[in-house]
């Protein structure tokens, strides 16, 4: 890897790790289903950026883009189903606090 590419990789890697930290913190600390979904969304964005960066560095941008398009499709489905679960939780519990979702507890 040339020094320029190595420096670019290092820059991007630092910011991608920061995005992962923000996403994980949001998931761990939030008590709201929508905010948890937002945290997952930030994690997915970090993963997307990592895939695109890998494709750019390896010269395989076409492959990276096709993987990212697949990821985006899965992301939409995840968000739609997550939104449905949130709506269902609110309809049944009048709240979207995951700590109160205890109907399945044995």
């Amino acid at each position: 890897m040339s020094p320029d590419l190595a420096q670019l990789f290092e820059y991007f890697l630092i910011f991608i790790i920061l995005l992962f930290v923000i996403g994980f913190y949001c998931i761990l600390v939030s008590f709201n289903l929508i905010r948890i979904l937002i945290g997952v969304e930030i994690l997915i964005k970090a993963a997307t950026l990592l895939i695109i960066l890998a494709g750019f560095l390896c010269g395989r941008t076409a492959l990276a883009q096709s993987i990212v398009i697949t990821l985006i499709v899965i992301e939409i489905v995840f968000m739609v189903v997550g939104g449905g679960v949130t709506f269902w939780a609110f309809r049944h519990n009048e709240d979207i606090d995951p700590r109160k979702l205890s109907d399945l507890k044995g």
């Binding site: 923000i22 096709s66 949130t86």
Partner: protein, 161 residues
């Protein structure tokens, strides 16, 4: 490189604002801004088709889905708002410091392995890769979309009374 650095900084700041802001609707706007900046970065990394997907789907469609989900929930009353803000601040005030500390530590001590990159691929056409080389993935995407549609249909089904 400077523009990349600015864009990445704004990306992280937008994500931080998304997570830390109190109103959910502001979080959704922050997420859309994050997606827009990510699209610009992707465009600069020679991935225009993925950038367009990110812009239209993540900044557009997913924001709409979130706004619909927020529309179903109840807004925090003005009486409860200060208490909720205080409670959120106690949980989230560490985050900017963690981010700054992590950035400083990584800029000093992060060791990036200098691996040998493989030779560039022959095919550089994303449409060719998507339709000819990865057509099984396309089938998988269709199945995932169908599964999602079924999942939503099951979740939103009204019970018969």
């Amino acid at each position: 490189m400077t523009l990349d650095f600015i864009l990445l900084s704004v990306l992280v700041l937008a994500a931080l604002w998304t997570v830390m802001t109190i109103r959910l609707i502001h979080s959704i706007v922050g997420l859309a801004i994050t997606s827009v900046i990510l699209s610009i970065i992707m465009y600069r990394l020679n991935s225009p088709l993925a950038a367009v997907f990110e812009l239209s789907v993540c900044a557009g469609l997913i924001s709409v889905i979130f706004i619909i989900a927020v529309g179903f929930t109840e807004r925090t009353s003005k009486k409860m708002f200060p208490a909720e803000r205080k409670e959120r601040l106690t949980r989230f005030w560490y985050l900017p410091f963690i981010i700054i500390a992590a950035a400083l530590l990584m800029s000093q001590f992060l060791i990036v392995p200098h691996f040998e990159l493989p030779p560039p691929a022959e095919s550089q056409n994303v449409r060719n890769v998507l339709w000819n080389l990865k057509h099984l993935d396309l089938l998988g995407q269709v199945i995932v979309l169908l599964a999602g549609a079924f999942g939503v249909a099951v979740l939103f089904k009204e019970s018969k009374k």
